[in-house]
C-alpha cells in the first residue's frame, strides 16, 4: 500500500505550493535542408543506373539537370541545378520552400503548472490532512491539441480510539484528463522526421501545405482539425487501517487493512476529415499568388467511438506483529495475509456517416456499419507472509522471512509457491576490539542475504500471458459473402504444469561511517539467478508440428545477473555553509544460462550465453567499398546477399571464415538497450537561507539503433548522413551509399546501425531561497520558500541524433521550473 501524507498534531496549518515549468524536447534530430535533400534524391536517381554511368550522370545532373543514358534515354534529375540553387537561396517560398519540419511543428517552450493546497492539523485523538490539487501540462506542439490536466482531492484521518485501538481512514478522488488529436505522437514525430524540406508546412499566405502522406501534415495533425481523442479517468480510492494492540500479550499487535480502488474511464474518439491546400493551376487575380486548392484528407466522413471502462481493485490485509526485547535479546515476528481481487469490464459504441462534423454526439451518427461490443475480466491473488528476526545487542542480526503466494495465473495444483529468505548482519564496530583500536570509523557492518522471490507477471508479445493452463478458445470474426460470421479459434495448447518463476537473490555487503558520520559508504555485491523463467519452446519445436503460434509458456529459462552497487558520500559544514557530496553507481550484467534455441544454430548466434534481449544476430560491419577497384580486389563471395556489388556498398566480416558472406556470418551482439553501468553524483549545499542541489547522471554499456528506414523518396535524411555519405566524389570507406528506405542489403541487420548510447547528463539543478522567518511572521507566514530548477539541462552523449531514452518518438523533456511553497 502506498503511504501518503498524514496529519500532524497542532493548530490548522495551511500550505500552498505552486510550480510553473516550461518544457522542450531534449534532442531533435538534425536533418538535411531542402537543397541537401534534393542532392540526395538526385543521387538515388543516379544509383538506379548501371555503375559505370554514375559519374557521368552525376556530372550531367549537376551541370544541366538532364542525362542521356548509354541506352539513349533522356533522364531528368529530380532537382535541376536551378531548383537546387533556389531552394538554397530561400527567396521564393511559394515555389522553392526550405522547411524545417521540427521547427514548424514544435514550439520553443511548452508551459506546465501545478497548484496544491493542503490543510493539516488535529488533536492527539484525531488528526487530519486534506488537500486539493491541480496540474496542467501542454505538449511540445505549436497549436497543440494535446495535453494533460489533473484535479485531485485527498482526505486522511487518524483517530486514536483508546489505548488499544487506532484507526486510519483515507479518501482520494482524482480526475486525469488526457486529450490528443486523432493522430498520435507516433504519427506526428514520424512525419516531422519524414517531412520533405522542399515542401511547405504552410504556404506563404498561412494556409497549411500538402501532406506528406495520408493527410499527415504535422502542423495540422497536431491540432483539433482532425477531431479529438479524449481519455478521462476518474479514480476514487478509499483505504482504511485498524491497529489493535492485543491486551494481555505485550508486544502483540494486529493490523487490518482495506483498500478499495475504483477506476472509471471514458474514452471518446471523434475523427473528422480535414483540409489541406495544394497548388492548383494558374494564379489569383493579382497574377503572382498561385491558386491553392483545398483537399479533404483523413477519414471519408466523421465517425465516433466511445468506450467506457470500469475497474475495481480490492486489497484486504491482516498482519499480526510481535516485538519484544528481553535484555540483550531482541525479537520481532510477523505473520500476515493479503487478498487481492481485480474486476474489470468495458463497453464501446461506434458510429460513422455523421452528416456533419458539427455534432459530436453518438445519436447523430448514421445507422450503417454502427458497432458496439464489450467484455469483462477478473483477477485474484492471495499471499501469506511472515518474518522472524532476532538480534543480540543490535550487534548480531538474524532474520528469516517467507512468502507463500497464490495467483490466478497458475492452475490449482501449482498455484502456490513458497519463497523463503534469510539475512544476517554483524555490526563489527560494536565489538570492543574495534572500539578500542579503530576510532576513526564509528560504524562498520557486514551483512549478507539469500532469498527467493516469485514472479507471475509473464509478459511477451506485448501483453500479460494469462490462462496458460486453460484450454479455451477465443472469439473473432470472418467475412463470408454479405455477412460477418463469429468465429472461434484455439488460443493456446495449455501447459498444466505452469508455475511461478523464481528469483534466487544473494547479496553480500558492507556499510560504514567515518568521522562521526561525515563520510559514509556502502558496497554490495549481488548474484541473482532466475530459474523457471516462463518462455515458449518455439525455437526448438519444429513449425511443422503446427504448434508454433500456440505453444504456452513453460518454466524453462535460466538467467544469472551479477554486479555491484556502491554509494559513498561526505557531509561537511564550514561556517554558514553545510554541504554534502555523494556518488552512487551500479554495474550489472546478465547472462542467459538456459534458453530455448534452434538445436543446430551456430554458437555465435545463440541467446544462451548472451545477455537477455539482445538484437537478433547481425552482420559485422567492416567498412565500405570505396570504388570499383576495391570491389574487384575483394576475395570474399557476397553472392548470398547480393548479385551485384556496387561502390558504396558495405563490407561485412566473414565471421565463420568460409570465404563467403552468408547468413551464418551473423553474430549475436553482446549488448542490449539496458546500460550495464549507471551512476550519479549528487551535490547538496546550503548557505544561510539558500539551498542548492545538483544531480549528474550517467550510463554506459548499452546500444541504440539508428534507423533510416523511412529516409529516401518518402522522407528526409539525417544531416550526418548528408555530410558523410559515400558519393562518386566522396569515396568514403566509412559511410555507405545512401539507400532509398531499406532497399540495400546493408540497410539494416548489421552493427553499423547500432551505436553506443553512453551519456552523462545534468539531470537536475535546483536553487532555493527560504525567506527568513522573522520577515514572514509579520504576515502570518511560518515558512516561505522560492525555488528554481532545471531538468535535463545538459547532455553529453555518443548517440547524438536522438534522445537516449526515447529514440525518435516524443523525446524526453528539458524542463525549467520556478515555484514557491508557503505555509500559514
Amino acid at each position: 500500500m502506498v503511504t501518503t501524507k498524514r496529519g500532524k498534531e497542532g493548530k490548522p496549518e495551511l500550505t500552498y505550493q505552486f510550480n510553473q515549468g516550461f518544457a522542450q524536447p531534449t534532442t531533435i534530430p538534425k536533418l538535411a535542408d531542402a537543397a541537401q535533400y534534393g542532392e540526395m534524391l538526385n543521387d538515388l536517381n543516379v544509383y538506379e543506373l548501371p555503375t559505370n554511368e554514375w559519374r557521368a550522370a552525376t556530372d550531367a545532373y549537376r551541370s544541366t539537370g538532364t542525362y542521356i543514358t548509354q541506352a539513349g534515354q533522356e533522364r531528368t534529375a529530380p532537382f535541376s541545378p536551378e531548383a537546387l540553387a533556389l531552394h538554397r537561396a530561400g527567396t521564393d517560398p511559394w515555389n522553392y520552400p526550405n522547411t524545417d519540419w521540427y521547427g514548424e511543428t514544435l514550439k520553443t517552450w511548452s508551459p506546465q503548472s501545478r497548484h496544491n493546497l493542503q490543510l493539516n492539523g488535529g488533536s492527539e485523538s484525531l488528526r487530519y490532512m486534506a488537500s486539493i490539487g491541480y496540474q496542467n501540462q501542454d505538449a511540445y506542439y505549436k497549436n497543440s491539441a494535446t495535453g494533460f490536466k489533473q484535479y485531485d482531492m485527498r482526505i486522511n484521518l487518524d483517530a486514536k480510539i483508546n489505548e488499544y485501538i487506532d484507526l486510519q481512514l483515507g479518501v482520494l478522488a482524482r480526475q486525469e484528463y488526457r486529450f490528443f488529436p486523432t493522430r498520435g505522437a507516433g504519427a506526428i514525430f514520424r512525419m516531422q522526421m519524414r517531412g520533405k524540406p522542399h515542401e511547405p508546412a504552410y504556404w506563404p499566405d498561412g494556409r497549411p501545405g500538402p501532406d506528406i502522406e495520408n493527410g499527415e501534415n504535422p502542423v495540422v495533425i497536431t491540432t483539433n482539425a482532425t477531431g479529438y481523442d479524449r481519455d478521462t479517468r476518474n479514480y476514487f480510492q478509499t483505504n482504511g487501517a485498524l491497529n489493535i494492540k492485543i491486551p494481555g500479550v505485550e508486544g502483540l499487535k494486529f493490523q487490518g487493512t482495506a483498500a478499495i480502488d475504483n477506476l472509471s474511464r471514458l474514452q471518446k474518439r471523434w475523427e473528422t476529415p480535414w483540409i489541406l491546400y495544394q497548388r492548383g493551376n494558374g494564379f489569383e487575380a493579382d497574377g503572382v499568388t498561385p491558386i491553392l486548392v483545398p483537399s479533404q484528407r483523413g477519414p471519408a466522413e466523421p465517425r465516433l467511438r466511445q468506450t467506457n471502462i470500469n475497474q475495481l481493485n480490492i486489497l484486504l490485509g491482516g498482519v499480526f506483529t510481535y516485538e519484544r526485547q528481553f535484555g540483550d535479546h531482541g525479537f520481532n515476528a510477523l505473520a500476515g495475509v493479503n487478498k487481492e481481487t481485480v474486476e474489470g469490464n468495458d463497453f464501446f459504441a461506434y458510429r460513422r456517416y455523421f452528416i456533419s462534423p458539427a455534432i459530436d454526439q453518438m445519436f447523430a451518427g448514421g445507422d450503417a456499419e454502427k458497432n458496439n461490443g464489450g467484455g469483462a475480466f477478473t483477477r485474484g491473488r492471495l499471499n501469506y507472509f511472515g518474518r522472524v528476526a532476532y538480534n543480540y545487542q543490535e550487534k548480531y542480526l538474524f532474520e528469516f522471512l517467507w512468502r507463500y503466494d497464490g495467483s490466478y495465473i497458475f492452475p490449482e495444483a501449482s498455484r502456490f509457491g513458497f519463497f523463503p529468505g534469510v539475512m544476517a548482519g554483524w555490526v563489527i564496530s560494536e565489538e570492543n576490539f574495534w572500539k578500542n583500536n579503530i576510532t576513526a570509523m564509528d560504524f562498520f557492518k557486514i551483512r549478507g542475504s539469500w532469498g527467493q522471490m516469485g514472479n507471475d507477471q509473464i509478459y511477451y508479445d506485448g501483453s500479460l500471458q494469462e490462462y496458460q493452463f486453460l484450454a479455451t478458445y477465443g472469439f473473432s470474426s470472418q467475412i463470408l459473402q454479405n455477412t460477418e460470421a463469429k468465429t472461434l479459434y484455439e488460443t493456446r495448447v495449455p501447459n498444466n504444469a505452469i508455475t511461478w518463476e523464481v528469483a534466487n537473490n544473494s547479496n553480500i555487503g558492507i556499510e560504514g561511517q567515518l568521522l562521526q558520520g561525515k563520510i559514509f559508504f556502502e558496497f554490495d555485491y549481488f548474484y541473482n539467478k532466475r530459474t523457471n523463467i516462463l518462455w515458449r519452446k518455439n525455437a526448438s519445436v519444429p513449425q511443422s508440428s503446427g504448434l508454433a503460434s500456440l505453444l504456452p509458456a513453460e518454466n524453462i529459462g535460466e538467467v544469472e545477473n551479477k554486479g555491484f552497487d556502491i554509494n559513498i558520500g561526505y557531509r561537511g559544514q564550514s561556517g554558514d555553509i553545510s554541504y554534502s557530496v555523494s556518488a552512487n553507481g551500479g554495474y550489472a550484467k546478465n547472462k542467459i544460462l538456459f534458453w530455448d534455441e534452434p538445436p543446430g544454430a551456430p554458437s555465435w548466434q545463440l541467446s544462451t550465453g548472451s545477455p537477455m534481449n539482445t538484437p537478433n544476430p547481425v552482420y559485422l560491419y567492416d567498412g565500405v567499398f570505396p570504388n570499383q577497384a576495391a570491389i574487384d580486389a575483394e576475395t570474399l563471395d557476397y553472392s548470398d546477399i547480393t548479385n551485384n556489388l556496387r561502390p558504396g556498398d558495405m563490407k561485412f566480416k566473414d565471421y565463420d571464415g568460409d570465404g563467403a558472406i552468408t547468413p551464418l556470418d551473423r553474430v549475436r551482439l553482446d549488448r542490449n538497450s539496458i546500460p550495464r553501468f549507471q551512476g550519479g553524483v549528487n551535490l547538496n549545499a546550503s548557505f544561510r537561507n539558500w539551498d542548492l542541489a545538483i544531480l549528474f547522471q550517467g550510463a554506459a554499456g548499452a546500444i541504440a539503433q539508428v534507423s533510416l528506414g523511412e529516409s529516401g523518396n518518402i522522407g528526409n535524411y539525417l544531416l550526418e548522413f548528408y555530410e558523410n555519405r559515400w558519393t562518386v566524389d566522396n569515396e568514403s570507406s566509412v559511410y555507405p551509399r545512401i539507400a532509398n528506405r531499406s532497399d540495400q542489403y546493408y540497410s539494416n541487420g548489421n552493427d553499423f546501425w547500432y551505436r553506443s548510447s553512453d551519456y552523462i547528463r545534468l539531470k537536475n539543478f535546483e536553487v532555493g531561497y527560504t525567506v527568513p522567518q522573522q520577515f514572514g511572521e509579520r504576515f502570518g507566514i511560518s515558512n516561505l520558500r522560492f525555488y528554481a530548477n532545471g531538468l535535463n539541462l545538459l547532455t553529453w552523449d555518443k548517440l547524438k541524433v536522438y534522445d537516449n531514452a526515447t529514440g525518435q518518438y516524443y523525446p524526453q523533456a528539458r524542463v525549467i521550473n520556478a515555484g514557491l511553497s508557503v505555509t500559514f
Binding site: 538506379e48 489493535i244 492548383g280 492471495l382 479455451t472 463470408l480 472461434l488 513449425q543 504448434l547 543446430g600
Partner: protein, 619 residues
C-alpha cells in the same frame, strides 16, 4: 477491556476465514469458451470451422501481390524482400517475401486447426441434425486439403499434417512425404469433402462440393506437369537432375500421360457441374460487351458471381487489408500507392482486336499502342489517356476529365512559353511522386470502378477468387493438349476467347499449348496463377527471368496548338512511345533453377533433422 478481547478474537476468525477461501483464484477468461464446450455445441463448432477460412489471409489482396514476383508486374516500394525472389537470391535464411497464405509456419498452424476440427467432428458429440456435422467435417477436410496444396506447390512434398500434436510428443521431427504421397493425401481429402458437402447450399466463402472438385482439378493438373515428372524435369534442369531426392518434388515412376488423363477427368467433373459466366457463346462478343463481361467477372457482380467457385469476401464494416486493393495499387495521382504495377512484357502480350499479335515493329501499333487492342487490355489496365475516376478535389483542376497521365508533355504556361508538364501518375508527378509507377501502367482489375468510390479512404468489397470456373476450363484444355486431343482443347479455349471478344483459335500441337499459355496469362492475370504456371511448365527461365520494362511517353504539341491544362488528345499532341528497361539499380531480375521451389527455412531445418532441403539450396 473484555470487548476488545472479543473484537480481537472475531478479527482473528474472520481473518482466517477470508484467507482460507481460495475459490476466487479460479478466474478463467470471460471472453473465451472452454474447448470441451465447443465440441458439444453445433453453433460453437461451426464458429470454429468458420475460423479455418482465416487461413486464406487476404486472398491475393496483400499489399504485395504474387504478381510482382512474376513477369506480370514489379513492386514499386523498396524493402519488402521481393527482389530477393526475383533476383534469385533466396536462400534458407532469407527466402524472400512470403505472405501469410504461402508461409510454412502459418500453413502448419492452420493445418493443426483443421485436424482439431476433423478429430472432433468425425464422431461428433452433438446430433448431426440437418447434416450439420457432415457439413462441418466436409469444410474442415476441404481446408486441410487446401493448406496442404499451398505447401505442396511452394515447397514440393512436405510432412503431411494429419495429427494433432500435444506438448508431450516423443518427437516432433517428421520427415517429408514424397510428392506423390502428398498429392494422394490431398485427393483423398477432397473426394471425402466433396461427398460430405454434396447437396449442401452454403453461403459464399464456405467450401462446397464444387470447390472440392475444382481444387482437385488444380492439384492434378499441377501433378501432371513437366516440373513434377522427374525424367522430363531432369532433362530440362541440371539442378533437378542433380538432386538426390527427386521423389520429394515429383513422380519418379508412373506415366505422365496417365496423370494427364486423371487431370482431364477431374477438370471435366467441374465443367459438368457448373457453367461459369457466358461460356456458351458461339461467336466473339463485341468489344464493349467483352470489356464489361471481363470486368463483371473480376468484380464478381452482374453475372460474374457464377464464375466464383471459392472466394474470400470482404465487407467495409470490417476494415481489412483486402479492402484496400485500390489504395495499394491505384495511381499516385489519385493519392494511391501504386504497389504492383504491370510491366510492358505483359502489356505487349495482349493481342489486337482481330486476334493478331501486337508488334512494336508495326508502325500503326507503335504509334498508338493503346488503340485497337483486345477487350481484356482495357478491362485490366490503366494506361496513358485511359478514362478513370474523378481525381481528388484538390487535383481536379489539373485534370478535370479524370484521365490517367503517365507521360511527359508540353503545355503553354501563363507567359505563353512552352514548358514541361509531368504526368500526374508518374514518378515526377506533383502528387506523391515516390508512389508513381516505374512502368507507366497501373492495374485496374479488381479495383472498384464506381466513380464515387474514393480508394484512399474507403474499403472496397470485391472478393478474391481462390478458385474460379475458368481455371477448370484451362486445366481441361491443358490436359487435352497434352493428351493430343487438340480439338476438345480448342473448343473450350475458344469459349473463353469468344467471351473475351476474340476470334477462334486454329493452332494445334505445341502452338496450341503456346496459345493456351498466352491466353491464361491474360485471362487470369493477377490471380496468383502465373507464379506457379511458369514454374510447373518450366518456362520460368525465359519468362520470369526477363528484365522487367515499362514505357516512356512524350507528348509534343502539334503546331499552333495552345494547351494550358493537359489532357490526352491526339488532335493536340504527337505522342511517342518508347519501351525502356527498368534500371538494374531498382530491380535486376535473374532466374536460377533453385527458384522452382522455395527453400525450407534454415531454422526449421535445424529444428527438424529429418528434413531434406530443396534442390539448389542444399549447400
Amino acid at each position: 477491556m473484555k470487548n476488545i478481547k472479543y473484537l480481537g478474537l472475531a478479527l482473528t476468525i474472520s481473518f482466517l476465514n477470508f484467507s482460507c477461501d481460495e475459490e476466487f483464484l479460479n478466474a478463467p477468461p470471460q471472453g473465451e469458451v472452454s474447448e470441451s464446450a465447443v465440441w458439444t455445441d453445433p453453433g460453437l463448432a461451426e464458429a470454429f470451422v468458420t475460423d479455418l477460412y482465416k487461413g486464406l489471409g487476404q486472398g491475393g489482396f496483400s499489399e504485395q501481390a504474387l504478381a510482382s514476383l512474376t513477369d506480370e508486374a514489379i513492386f514499386t516500394h523498396p524493402g519488402r524482400n521481393i527482389t530477393t525472389v526475383t533476383e534469385a537470391r533466396s536462400n534458407p535464411q532469407e527466402p524472400g517475401w512470403m505472405d501469410y497464405t504461402r508461409n510454412w509456419p502459418d500453413l502448419y498452424s492452420n493445418l493443426r486447426a483443421t485436424n482439431i476440427a476433423i478429430d472432433n467432428l468425425t464422431d461428433p458429440s452433438f446430433a448431426n441434425e440437418g447434416g450439420i456435422a457432415d457439413r462441418l467435417l466436409g469444410e474442415a477436410t476441404f481446408m486441410r486439403a487446401y493448406f496442404h496444396h499451398q505447401l505442396l506447390r511452394n515447397f514440393g512434398g512436405i510432412p503431411i499434417a494429419n495429427k494433432t500434436f500435444t506438448l508431450d510428443e516423443e518427437t516432433y521431427e517428421l520427415p517429408r512425404n514424397t510428392y506423390e504421397e502428398v498429392v494422394d493425401f490431398i485427393i483423398a481429402d477432397l473426394d471425402k469433402a466433396a461427398t460430405l458437402l454434396a447437396g449442401k447450399d452454403l453461403t459464399g466463402g464456405r467450401a462446397t462440393e464444387l470447390a472440392a472438385l475444382a481444387l482437385k482439378s488444380r492439384v492434378l493438373i499441377y501433378a501432371a506437369s513437366d516440373l513434377h515428372d522427374m525424367p522430363t524435369a531432369s532433362a530440362k534442369s541440371s539442378v533437378i537432375s542433380g538432386y538426390q531426392n527427386k521423389e520429394l518434388i515429383g513422380y519418379t515412376s508412373g506415366s505422365q500421360a496417365d496423370r494427364y488423363q486423371q487431370a482431364a477427368a477431374a477438370a471435366k467433373a467441374v465443367l459438368d457441374k457448373a457453367s461459369g459466366n457466358m461460356l456458351d457463346l458461339s461467336e466473339p462478343l463485341s468489344q464493349e460487351e467483352a470489356i464489361q463481361t471481363y470486368i463483371n467477372n473480376s468484380l464478381s457482380r452482374n453475372g460474374g458471381e457464377s464464375e466464383m467457385i471459392f472466394g474470400r469476401y470482404f465487407l467495409s464494416q470490417k476494415p481489412e487489408t483486402g479492402g484496400r486493393h485500390g489504395l495499394h495499387n491505384g495511381p499516385n495521382g489519385y493519392n494511391n500507392w501504386a504497389g504492383n504495377t504491370p510491366v510492358q512484357l505483359l502489356i505487349d502480350d495482349y493481342q489486337m482486336m482481330d486476334g493478331s499479335d501486337f508488334d512494336w515493329e508495326e508502325e500503326d501499333h507503335a504509334s498508338a499502342p493503346y488503340e485497337g487492342r483486345e477487350p481484356r487490355f482495357y478491362a485490366t489496365f490503366l494506361y496513358e489517356g485511359a478514362p478513370w475516376k474523378p481525381r481528388s478535389s484538390a487535383n481536379q483542376a489539373r485534370d478535370p476529365l479524370g484521365q490517367i497521365q503517365t507521360g511527359t508533355y508540353e503545355v503553354i504556361n501563363g507567359e505563353g512559353q512552352k514548358v514541361t508538364h509531368f504526368g500526374l501518375d508518374t514518378r515526377n508527378s506533383p502528387i506523391e511522386d515516390w508512389n508513381g509507377s516505374y512502368t507507366g501502367y497501373y492495374i485496374r482489375k479488381f479495383i472498384e470502378p464506381d466513380p464515387n468510390f474514393v480508394d484512399q479512404n474507403t474499403w472496397q468489397e470485391i472478393p478474391w477468387p481462390h478458385l474460379r470456373f475458368t481455371e477448370a476450363v484451362f486445366n481441361y484444355a491443358e490436359a487435352n493438349i497434352a493428351l493430343g486431343n487438340d480439338e476438345e482443347a480448342r473448343t473450350w479455349l475458344n469459349k473463353i476467347r469468344y467471351r473475351a471478344g476474340l476470334p477462334a483459335l486454329t493452332a494445334s500441337g505445341e502452338e496450341l499449348m503456346e496459345a493456351l499459355i498466352n491466353e491464361k496469362r491474360k485471362e487470369m492475370v493477377h490471380e496468383e496463377q502465373r507464379f506457379y504456371d511458369a514454374r510447373r511448365w518450366m518456362i520460368a527461365p525465359e519468362t520470369l527471368g526477363r528484365q522487367p520494362n515499362g514505357i516512356n511517353i512524350v507528348g509534343t504539341l502539334k503546331a499552333g496548338k495552345d494547351v494550358t491544362i493537359y489532357s490526352y488528345n491526339t488532335e493536340n499532341y504527337d505522342y511517342s512511345y518508347e519501351v525502356i528497361d527498368i534500371d538494374p539499380g531498382k530491380e535486376n531480375r535473374l532466374w536460377l533453377d533453385k527458384m522452382y521451389f522455395m527453400p525450407i527455412n534454415f531454422d526449421e531445418m535445424q529444428r527438424n533433422r529429418e528434413l531434406i532441403q530443396n534442390p539448389g539450396y542444399e549447400d
